[in-house]
Symmetry: C2
Subunit: 389 residues, 2 copies
């Protein structure tokens, strides 16, 4: 396979994204959990709404594994609408008429924040696997550096789902005094063995693709598209529920009522999955997929505090609202309950809502009125306490 | 990659397995659901125990996706013990001192029964994708032909788990008068959309491997080992439960207490999965994996009878015992309940046991005393009615 326009676009996107970018120089390294001091580095972000005079109305949204900073605007790479328009915008639970909303691409990502597809200044080539392994705490450190530069001391609210929720919890753990309210959704304080296993299969699928080239595909003009597509297909199943799949696709055949007795995409679910795989590789860097899944696998908040999650939150003044979904088997309600129990044990302020839904893990991205009601109620009450009009 | 001894062994094994083989000539075609008349063809099988004078004590065991005929003897290919020694043997629930036990490799398989790795007499080359797509009903037709040749009119019992259970149900549907007792375990009367989706990811992983060569790898001296290993890793997760994974591996690191900040197999679960993938490709043919998963996907017993599962079993004199496991999320208890409800609606004789287990789908292969007790009780009672000493 020869170099495609897409891989050039991917490189260009990595260094010069179509969004705001905060750059940190050689004297402002990002000190990472691996021990690496990354410099120079940059973080790509979007903002919505206006920071008030008291700088008290800033809301940070943390994105999930394959998300990005384009939470509430058309995505310049895919042309698709922002990924959380249901939650963020004028009159929405995160009301951009009242709040100054920030969303940044994670470190290790591929939408403009420094990651494995970015140019390593030492070699003028993409980092590839020379990029240091990142953690959720590194992502949060990078966001904190951005917030500092923006002159914001305390975030009114930090929220996000899935890996975004992990960052919310890490913010509350690392920078408790800088988080007034925290809203972790469909998440866990540590990644389970089963979830690590699913991620490992995805990484092995990428690495099994000969076009991955030991991570050096951008240099060698290839793309591990088939491997990354397989990884995405497998992961996508875990984001849904059997009920949702059954309702949407059942055992329906494609355009006909009988099997073709072939290996074509005979069932609608097969064709849907193949499309999910193919469309994903157009927008996501394979090495970033390795790095960001690895960050989730490493996440174990209690491990930083001798195994006690309650100790993590001891003395926290942050108010929390934890949301889970009944049909989410990737981050089941039991994971959210563990967070709530720890917050209770730490005498923190916490509300908990388990939303009845059959849409699986992806419910947090979909039209779930009970989630919107819970989020609105929590944010509005916190805003009153905070004195935000 | 050049031709390896393994691929030669695989071909040899496909035509000349180390087990009993029943051969069917050009005048004895297997008429398949696809419309193909397969001839000549053969079925590889093992037997244990002795057929009694009345020919009334024959038990057929149906194997699962990656199983084979070596149910209770050392496997000549892997050197490992038989796959269901807990259930089959002297004094076991399927007591080889009392019963004549038969287990045959499925059509489309790779352990001696005709499948895609077998030599196509028309070309003297492996069939590869020229092999007709098989169904569960085709597997059962092939077994019925074997039973005919063995001179057995009625099977005392047909049993099996997972895909084996699908065959049990198909036996009871297609040859009700030839099945005295049926014991489907951890199975379903139709494959769910989620399970089709998992299979499709596995097939795509195989097909994405350039060494698959459009299925012609045996001819071209390659093996799609990486793709098949990825498929197996993903599937293996679905055979276990989150509880089992957590108990066995948790978030334990390999040989150390801290992360390596690399993409090595850092967690024990990763190294376990990689081993599962690597060891699987030593014993299983990639094209067979495509064919046999496809057969499971196509399985929908009620579809043969206008969507009514009760109609399938109407008037059946077979007695049934259905077994499921609480932590099996691949073939959840709800699937077994659907079978039981249909049998009840058909006024069939049916018992149902949901075994409390945290071992997931693979529980049917493991040490589950409640399963053994249920199976023994059912088989012994049926044997008394059947008049088998």
């Amino acid at each position: 396979m020869t170099s495609s326009p897409l891989s050039l676009e991917a490189r260009s996107q990595a260094d010069d994204p179509s969004s705001l970018v905060m750059r940190f120089g050689a004297d402002e390294p990002l000190i990472m959990d691996s021990g690496v001091a990354l410099a120079p580095w940059q973080i790509a972000y979007q903002t919505y709404g206006t920071l008030n005079a008291g700088r008290s109305n800033a809301v940070l949204i943390c994105h999930a594994l394959t998300g990005d900073q384009h939470v509430a605007n058309d995505n310049p790479v895919t042309g698709k609408p922002g990924w959380w328009l249901t939650m963020v915008g004028p009159g929405k639970p995160v009301d951009t008429n009242r709040f100054f909303v920030i969303c940044a691409n994670v470190i290790g990502g591929c939408m403009g924040t420094t990651g494995p597809a970015s140019t390593d200044p030492a070699t003028s080539q993409p980092y590839a696997l020379n990029f240091p392994v990142v953690t959720i705490r590194d992502m949060v450190r990078a966001q904190a550096a951005l917030i500092d530069k923006l002159g914001i001391e305390t975030l009114f609210c930090v929220l996000g789902g899935s890996m975004g929720g992990m960052q919310v919890l890490q913010w509350a753990a690392s920078y408790s005094h800088r988080v007034f309210a925290a809203l972790p959704i469909a998440t866990a304080a540590r990644h389970s063995a089963q979830n690590i296993a699913f991620h490992e299969v995805g990484r092995q699928a990428v690495m099994a693709d000969p076009d991955w080239r030991g991570g050096r595909y951008l240099l060698e003009g290839t793309r591990p598209s088939k491997g990354l597509a397989v990884a995405r297909m497998g992961a996508h199943i875990t984001y849904l529920s059997e009920m949702a799949l059954h309702r949407k696709f059942g055992r329906n055949f494609q355009d006909r009522s009988a099997p073709t007795f072939s290996f074509d995409a005979d069932f609608q679910i097969e064709s849907y999955l193949r499309y999910q795989g193919i469309s994903f590789v157009e927008r996501f860097d394979a090495n970033s997929y390795l790095y960001v899944t690895r960050a989730m696998d490493y996440f174990d908040l209690a491990a930083e505090h001798g195994g006690s999650l309650a100790k993590v939150f001891k003395g926290s003044a942050t108010r929390f609202c934890v949301i889970s979904f009944t049909s989410d088997w990737l981050f089941p309600t039991s994971d959210s309950r563990a967070i709530v129990h720890a917050l209770n044990a730490a005498a923190a302020s916490v509300g908990f809502v388990e939303v009845e839904s059959d849409k699986g893990h992806d419910a947090f991205l979909l039209d779930e009125p009970a989630m919107f009601a819970a989020a609105s109620g929590f944010i509005d009450a916190a805003a009153r306490v905070r004195g935000i009009a």
